[in-house]
């Protein structure tokens, strides 16, 4: 008789711990001291970054498992973000930026004891650029022509030409274990996630101790890691709770210690809780209304500016975000090194909006309360994704605000993928969306005319001066020297309003009051996880 498959007994195994034998169970007090429990609405998408990249939570977890050559620091307020040595102890640019050489640390080890070598870095680059792997972020490697390994501790990147963020591009992605993962041909990677888990070796501060997909993920300290051991938790348990409302209830019930991603509506409940505190941090996000420049009248900068003047964005921030956001003025968030200090958001000025629209030929000729020009009413559809409550509420409020200046807005919510497809196809009038801007502040993908065909310039924005400035910014020797060009671009964008920049939301996290060492930044919420600890009772 064939035996029944093991998965059939999963609940019984979970209950009885009879499958594989149950070790001695630590006491509840011991577990509380050594374990921290983190809530998440999504699960880890996989242990191989090249297959699972792009999801913020997965990136946060993978940062605990794998190290990079360098680690970006959250210090972009005064200057471009610095990169601290991690697997690399130093680097050197030569040959006019065409050669970048890293020297690796001698003491870096995988969890199976094998050293981390230049061969791992070269293997990572080959995997990142392999067509069969189809890593979504492979574009960051397109200027790299070769990766050489003169010796086990030296790795040399060859570039077509130097550019300001080539160090960031070379560093993009965590270093993968060649000796463990090169046995599987790239063609088979996309259907073999379990294989990578079975052959998992790590070099980060934690190792994957247990993973029940959709339920729970357990990390334990990787004692052999370069990361300093610290006095932090031995175990981190991530509990997957897909419903955000239920997750907040579990925080309040004391089942979770931390959650990053609160809505502003939940912030007050967290603040009022005796066991939780609210952390508020900057984010890299900005939300906007994108005007389709392929369609009249949105091809006219004056009309776009008038529409911006007719929207009370401060009211949107106050009502929808409860103050946990700032009115945005451009794509570079406030408080960032390259932000134009003189850049201020357009004010809410309905009278100026009406005057501007009148100067472009709009008037209510037929007396129906809606402005028109050449017999066509100033009426458009404002789309956004249905899953984002704040944006769909904003669309309704914007309809009411623009009605006061004679503009007829028809809000429409769509499923996210349907919205993305329509936007990419240019099939929209105006849409509310958002970007999390890259810390390189590379504005080319959004606003350079060459990115209309194959990029994220889906509003078809064209401005020769912006194109020139962005091209020149890319040929500067470093990011800091590109600042005047970025400032110029911000000013043009403010005048021309290809987007109406709506708000820059703050990042909201709930933390148990007795947790210490938690730092939430625009880069990460788990960056300091290895240093988290629980304050002794009574403090």
């Amino acid at each position: 008789m064939r035996s029944a498959p093991a998965w059939l007994f999963a609940p019984a195994c979970a209950a009885l711990a009879a499958c594989g034998g149950a070790p001695r169970q630590p006491s509840a007090a011991e577990l509380a001291r050594t374990t921290v429990t983190v809530g998440t609405t999504v699960d880890l998408a996989g242990v191989n970054e090249l297959l699972s990249g792009g999801v913020r939570f997965s990136n946060e977890v993978l940062d605990q498992l794998f190290l990079s050559l360098l680690r970006e620091q959250p210090d972009w307020a005064e200057h471009p973000p610095t990169l601290a040595p991690e697997l690399a102890e130093g680097w050197e640019l030569a040959d006019g930026g065409r050669t970048l050489t890293f020297r690796l640390r001698a003491d870096a080890r995988w969890s199976d004891g094998r050293p981390v070598t230049a061969a791992d870095v070269a293997f990572t680059w080959r995997a990142q650029t392999a067509a069969a792997v189809a890593w979504p972020y492979a574009q960051s490697k397109e200027s790299i022509t070769a990766v050489e390994t003169p010796d086990p501790r030296t790795v040399r990147f060859r570039f077509r030409a130097g550019y300001p963020f080539q160090l960031i591009d070379a560093n993009d992605g965590r270093v993968l274990p060649a000796h463990a993962w090169q046995g599987l041909p790239f063609e088979q990677w996309r259907r073999s996630e379990p294989w990578f888990r079975e052959h998992l070796v790590v070099d980060g501060p934690f190792r994957l101790a247990d993973w029940h997909p959709g339920r729970e993920l357990v990390l334990e300290r990787n004692r052999g890691s370069l990361a300093p051991p610290g006095a932090g938790f031995a175990r981190v348990v991530f509990r997957v709770v897909p419903d955000p409302a239920a997750l907040v209830e579990r925080l309040l019930a004391g089942e979770l210690d931390f959650y990053d991603g609160l809505s502003p509506l939940d912030a007050e409940r967290i603040r009022a809780s005796p066991r939780l505190r609210l952390l508020v941090a900057d984010s890299r996000q900005f939300d906007y209304i994108a005007w389709n420049g392929r369609r009249a009248p949105f091809d006219d900068p004056a009309v776009r500016r008038a529409l911006t003047l007719g929207i009370d964005r401060q009211a949107l921030v106050d009502v929808l975000w409860r103050g946990f956001a700032r009115v945005a003025a451009g794509p570079v968030p406030a408080g960032v090194w390259a932000r134009d200090p003189e850049l201020a958001p357009w004010p809410y000025d309905p009278d100026a909006a009406r005057t501007l629209l009148a100067s472009r030929g709009f008037a209510d000729h037929d007396g129906d309360g809606v402005l028109d020009r050449d017999g066509r009413p100033l009426r458009f559809e404002l789309t956004t994704n249905a899953s984002n409550r704040l944006r769909s509420d904003a669309a309704v409020l914007i309809r009411d605000q623009l009605k006061r200046i004679g503009v007829d807005v028809q809000p429409r919510t769509l499923e996210l993928q349907a919205l993305v497809e329509r936007n990419q196809a240019g099939d929209f009038d105006a849409t509310i969306a958002g970007w999390a801007i890259d810390t390189t502040l590379d504005l080319r993908p959004y606003f350079h005319s060459s990115e209309i065909a194959d990029g994220q310039n889906f509003v078809a924005y064209r401005n020769a001066e912006v194109d020139r400035a962005l091209d020149r910014a890319r040929s500067e020797p470093d990011l800091a020297s590109a600042r005047p060009l970025l400032v110029r671009v911000q000013r043009i964008l403010r005048d021309e309003q290809p987007y109406t920049f709506l708000w820059e939301p703050r990042r909201l996290a709930a933390v148990a009051r007795d947790l210490e060492g938690v730092e939430v930044t625009h880069l990460s919420s788990l960056g300091s996880l290895a240093r988290w600890s629980r304050a002794p009772a009574g403090r």
């Binding site: 996989g46 996309r190 419903d243 579990r250 019930a253 349907a418 993908p445």
Partner: protein
């Protein structure tokens, strides 16, 4: 009986093929199609196309459909687009949790439905009957996710008697019995959230069935023979109502399965509903289709079992 079984099996197979094909075509017909590309300025459309090609989504739809159906017939539902492992494995891991939840909910439905239905039918038109009818109607009308959040908020937060979700406590110490108790504690709220509305529906069904049978001559004869009312109810009326009740149980499984989707999401229960919810968000068609096939198979099996049992009890059905 053999012909009856053959007919039912052929119908079930045809229905299963229709469900698989329908689910496959529906996901592909959605705007944006299957698979989710990271919405990121660093991912240009050309790279997104490469990713689609790696998933095989650059092939014509008929070719993709044929490949999928042929592979599925061999038991290969393809790799999950979001979890990068066999879709069959993803679904198979979730199935036992859903069976546990829906099996418990079915128990609540039948036990609760029978008890409340009997109570209501005993004094039809009385105060208790009116109260029960109102309560069951209200419970039946409550959306599953709302009831789930209400139970969670009341019994896990306001009065922290039960865990708020998941299947095990991180600090679950002790031996096998302690762990079993921990699992039962985690099961209680989601099973109630799925089972209570179903029990309310069942109670109304039982009441109606018993009242219909109450007018049958054989029950009047039983009363005339001087049998105690309880004996007439349990010994005669309930036996006569067994066939429709059996059918109700069979068909209930499908309703419970769909009802548990929202509840599994709220209580982070790692069953088929959760998997389907996640797969839908990721447009992960291999998992969606495998999940739909499994759910359809469960519903078909449940209703077929009910029909067969009904036919075994009532010869008029199998001869029809």
């Amino acid at each position: 009986m053999t012909r009856f079984l053959a007919r039912r099996l052929a119908a079930a197979a045809a229905l299963l093929v229709a469900v698989v094909s329908g689910a496959f075509l529906l996901v592909h017909a959605l705007p944006g199609g299957p698979g989710v590309i990271p919405e990121d300025p660093r991912v240009p459309p050309s790279q997104a196309q490469r990713l689609r090609a790696a998933w095989g989504l650059d092939r014509p739809l008929p070719e993709r459909y044929l490949r999928f159906v042929v592979a599925a017939a061999r038991g290969d539902w393809g790799p999950s687009l979001s979890q990068h492992r066999p879709a069959a494995q993803v679904v198979a891991e979730a199935l036992p949790w859903t069976l546990l939840l829906d099996g418990t909910a079915l128990g609540i439905e039948l036990a609760g439905g029978l008890a409340l239905g009997l109570l209501a039918a005993r004094r039809a038109g009385g105060r208790l009957d009116r109260l029960l009818r109102g309560a069951t109607l209200a419970l039946r009308a409550v959306p599953g996710f709302w009831l789930a959040l209400l139970l969670l908020s009341a019994f896990a937060v306001r009065w922290p008697l039960l865990p708020a979700g998941g299947v095990a406590s991180p600090a679950a110490a002790g031996g096998a019995w302690a762990r079993l108790a921990d699992l039962v504690a985690h099961l209680a709220l989601p099973a109630l959230a799925v089972g209570l509305p179903a029990a309310a529906g069942a109670a109304r069904f039982v009441r109606a069935a018993l009242l219909e049978i109450a007018a049958e001559p054989f029950l009047l004869a039983a009363h005339a023979r001087g049998l105690a009312p309880a004996r007439v109810l349990f010994g005669h009326a309930l036996r006569a109502a067994a066939a429709p009740l059996l059918q109700l149980a069979g068909f209930s499984f499908g309703a419970l399965l769909s009802g548990s989707l929202a509840v599994e999401v709220v209580f982070a229960w790692p069953g088929l509903g959760r998997v389907t919810f996640d797969a839908l968000a990721a447009r992960d068609y291999p998992v969606l289709v495998a999940g739909a096939a499994l759910a359809a198979a469960a519903v078909i099996a449940g209703s077929a079992a009910a029909e067969i049992a009904h036919a075994a009890l009532d010869p008029r059905v199998r001869d029809a």
